[in-house]
Every structure is written in structure tokens, then in C-alpha cells.
Assembly symmetry: C2
Homo-oligomer: 348 residues x 2
Amino acid sequence: MMSPKKQVNIWQVAHTAGVSAQTVSRVVNERPDVAPETRRRVLEVIDQLGYQPNALARSLIRQRSHTLGVVVARLDHYGPSRTLIGIEQEIRTIGYSLLLDLLPRPEVEDVAQILNRLLSRQVEGIIWAVPEIGSNRNWLEQKTPQMPVPVIYLSMQPRPGLPVISIDNRGGGRLATEHLLSQGFQQVGIITGCMDWWEARERLLGWQDALVTASRAIEARQIVEGDWTAASGAQSLGCLLERFPEMDAVFVCNDQMALGALQAAPRFGRQVPNQLAIIGFDDTPEAAYFCPPLTTIRQQLGEMGALAVREIIKMIEANRQNIAEILPGPILLKPELVIRESAVGKLY
Amino acid sequence: MMSPKKQVNIWQVAHTAGVSAQTVSRVVNERPDVAPETRRRVLEVIDQLGYQPNALARSLIRQRSHTLGVVVARLDHYGPSRTLIGIEQEIRTIGYSLLLDLLPRPEVEDVAQILNRLLSRQVEGIIWAVPEIGSNRNWLEQKTPQMPVPVIYLSMQPRPGLPVISIDNRGGGRLATEHLLSQGFQQVGIITGCMDWWEARERLLGWQDALVTASRAIEARQIVEGDWTAASGAQSLGCLLERFPEMDAVFVCNDQMALGALQAAPRFGRQVPNQLAIIGFDDTPEAAYFCPPLTTIRQQLGEMGALAVREIIKMIEANRQNIAEILPGPILLKPELVIRESAVGKLY
DNA sequence: CTGAAAGCGCTAACAC
DNA sequence: GTGTTAGCGCTTTCAG
């Protein structure tokens, strides 16, 4: 078997095998109605010439591209990059191809171009894995109904009638805060992510849920907004300690900021976890090696990506068979608590 | 402007505008020879119907897909993911599309499938951004000459006659070690990455270069192999200190392992940097927030990706014009030293 | 079992 | 300026 220097087409194979193009096509597509001897000869020539069917021509006539469009942003963040890995692996498993688009500025709303690029390349479906930031979802209410292919949205506020898969960030925030409370901490602050991110707002709500359920007072001074970076984690901790000096525990809304907070705490005279408990969100591979190892919330990011692929394939199949459009209800994936040493209680 | 529920083709536009398909084609391709009035009418219909040219059909006839195949692995690592970001952004800038393939097991040599998938989709070039691991480059010596499209390789040992772009890992390793030496440290150990990775071997060579130049002895006990993870960094530091107790500085070959080492050092009774200096490699965003902040080597990963795109486009253009194949000589990107607090010398 | 004809959506080359 | 014809590489009828 060898690849040729120049791409070979079906006619050349047909010609050198002494058959018609249709016969070659049948062999390639493993149709039963080919004489064994003919099939053998054709296969031999295919192998010898290194023939590869042109997927473009095939897509054109079959009206199926076997391609999914995937739009992501902030690959430098843990969440998006793990999600993409999950998406890609599942797409490969089902034998599809992945056309990738990275949004440099995910907060921007003008998505028509991206969508059109993908559509012009005849993707069969689109996975929109861009974090919901600001109003960058405004377009979707009006665009979605008229999209010629199914679109599935990741990591955003579930909306009625739209296929959405998200992590239950609110539940995760609640989980984190409840853990702090259950460890006997009394004064729980929070360092949020960028508040124009949906995830950030949800995690904050989860924090509030837990405090309300526990009948704790909530004041504005307990809340400081970070921007997801370690730098902001360090800085925000300073703000927080100044405004809310009695704080004995803090929910930091991602692991990077938690790292910053962990580093800054000693500078403010606080030992972690004795004088200040810290809990993060994400469970990045490094989190176990922070000082002290970080208690945090693990999200099933890869699973979310894989699920998105499976769901969109379902939608594509349903469309093809003209089944009444099944809009899968929003799916929420439950995060889980990972206990390490940065939030060990004083009670024990 | 509105997208239609169903994709519209050039004939429907032609028909409703009362012209021929050819005229629509001319308008779409901004050819000059169309009457202004006709153009206006056609554009109006296009807008109204939400017509998007079918890129597949276009590629078929023009024999240009405007698509690049990109193969990456280990997106969970800092290097590959930053490289991909650089690649994608440059590809978008030049108006191409990106067909992505992730290799789940980059150490495996059987790449024919991946290549064929990409080729069958008529990519105009392939960027192979998979780390060189073990003998997973064996295929390339025999395959490359017969590839129907240009292939450019990232992050591997430069090979004569092949287009390769890599970071100068050896230079980086040397830079790191020289810094340690210049700070007055005497006994320099190393925790390498997986030694079947080219990068790991290069960084080790760089370490040796620096020691040899400084006329220091090199013994096997100064070297311990890690596996790039924080866990292995912690563990390897233990090994190293046991075998090489007089060590006062260590070059840890990536930031994740350096994090592990940083965490483990106090457990072995070593203060960083007073009793043990640590220098990393990568300059991940978190490195500045380790305790203490990590001195490390910064690589121009995004730039490498962008460069790869520009180079492969050059090769494609050269091919198209039948210019004698310009094989760009191997390109080595210089890393730079980022000084922070984990390797501050005793001299000062 | 195999081949001939038609056509997927588009554009290059030629007519008018 | 604009329409017609042909054909990119493949597969789907439909004959034979």
C-alpha cells in the first residue's frame, strides 16, 4: 500500500482495472452485487494506486457531509479545552469530521459570519461550546428557529425549547458552600468569576442558596468579583479580608483564582486551612499539588462534550427522518465534591 | 437578512431573480462584468433568500478546498493547546477552515488512517502538531515524499529536507541551567520529562551543555525521569534528594512537575529557594502564583502555530505555481528566561 | 452482475 | 453583459 504523489480518482482506478466507475464505486461502498473476482481486481488496483474517494464529491451527491461544526472560545481555560477534547473524541468515534472555529472575542455578539462559514461547508450540525458571556446569546433566540441544521448549546442558561447541555454550576456552588458550612466554618466569603459569565452568576447563586438554607446572613461585603485569573484571586482575597475580616472560609470560583488566593493568604497572616479555608472549582490536574492541596468541585467536562455529540446526532437523524423535531430538554450535569486539605474544618 | 430554514441553491436564486445561474455566480464572486442593475437585483434576492454558496461544490470545481488539516495530541498539556490556538487564529485570518484531528494515543505510529481521512476531505496542507514520542515519526520518512499535499511538522527533531518548526528546547534547557549556575548554585540536578519525548531529551541535553561548559561533573544520580505530571515532580524530587543529597538547585522540565517539586520540597526539609532552587519550563499562567513564584522558561507556542500556517501556505502556493519545491529549512524558535523567586541565588 | 446516463451545486470557457 | 455547455468526482437510478 502506498499513497501516490498525486491524488487518483475513480476513473483512473476504473480504467486500469478494466471496469466502469460504477463498479469501483460499488466495491468501495461494499455493495454485495459485485463478482468476487472483479472485486478482488478492483481492490488490488485501489491499493496499488492508493486511491481515496473524494469526500467532497461524495458529500455533494449524498447530501451528507459527515461533518460537525464546533465553535469554542477561551481554549486557554480549563473548561473549554476539556470540553473540546470530549467533543472531538466522540466525533471521531462515530466517524465524523470536526470543523473547528475558535472565537477570539466570545463576548461579541456578531456570530452570523461564523455560522455562515460553517453552513456553507455543509456541516450537519453545530455545537456551540462558547461560554455565555454578557448578551452574546441574544442572537440565538431569533436565529435558531431558522437554522437549516441542528445547533446544540453548551455551558449556558437552559432556555425553554432549546437544546442545551450545561454543568449544574449553581448546584456546584451550593455543594462547595455546604461543605464549608458542614466543616464548621461560620463566615463564608466568595470570590466570583467575571460576573458577565453565566457560570460565575450561577456559582454565586449556589453560594447564596447554601447560606440561605443555613439561615446565615448575606451581605455585599462578603462578595468580591474576580476575573478567573490567579492574579485576581490574590488581589480579591485582599479586598475581601479588608471588608470582611471575620471571614474564616472562602469559596473561590475557579482553581486558578484559588491558587492566587492560596498564595496570598499567608501575606495577610492567614494560614490555610486553619485560619482560612479555601475551596475552588474545576479540579484541574494541578489542584492536588497546591499548598495545601485544594478541595474543589469537579465538573464532568469531557462527558458534557461527548454527550453533546450524541445528542446532536440524534437530532440530525430525527430531522432526516422527518420525525417531529425532538428538542431534548436542557440537560444539567452534576458536579461533585473533591475533598483535599484546603478546607478541613476546625470541628474535627 | 435572514437565514432560511432550508438551504437555498444557486438555481433558486437565479430563477427568482430572473437571471441565469452564471450571473448569480458572477455576482457572488464579485466579477466586474455584471450590469449594476442586475447585480443589485441579484444581491437583493441573495439577501432575501439567505443564499450561501455551497463550499463543497465550489471546492470540487475549483480544486481548492481552502481547508487545512491539523493534527494535535495532548490538548490537556499547555504546549499543544497554546499551539493550537496560534494555529487556529492564523488560519482564520487567512480565510481558511480548520479540520481538526486529535490523536488519543500520540505514541502510536499508525497514522495512515488519520492522514487518509484528511486527504479524502481534500485538505490543501497538513500541520502535524503532535509531540515526537518514541518512534512515532518513523512513518514520515517514507510517507512524506509521496504526500499529495505539503505537510509541516511541529515540535520535533529537525530532519534534513523536511519542513519542521520547533522550539529550541535544548537552548531552553541550557538557558535554565546557566541561570542556576550564574546564581551561584553548585550542585544542579534535573527532573526530566518522559524520556521518549523529544522535548525531554533536548532539555536534558541543554542541561548537560551548560554543566559541561561550566566544567562541572555530571553523574547519573543527578538525573531523575518524571512523566510531566505534578505527581511525578513531587516523587522525583524525593528520589533525587535521596541519591544526590548535596543538590542545591534543580531544573524541573515543565511547570507542572515544578509545582509538584515545590510542594514536596518542604516535606524533605528544603526551603525554596534558600536551600533548594527550582526552575521550571513553560511559563504557564499559574507559574507566577506558585509558592514561591516560579522562575521558568517561556516558549513562543502561539507564534510557532501561526508561523506553521504561514509556512505551509507558502508551500501550497509554491506547489500550485510548480515552483521547485521550497522546503523551508528547519526553524528553531528561541525560548526566553522568566525570572521570579524560586531560583534566586545565594550570592546576592 | 455490470454499464450508461443523469445530476449533486458550482464555475471555466466559450458563445451571442 | 449575459446565457449555454461542459464537467469537477462521485453515486443513484435504470437498462441490459
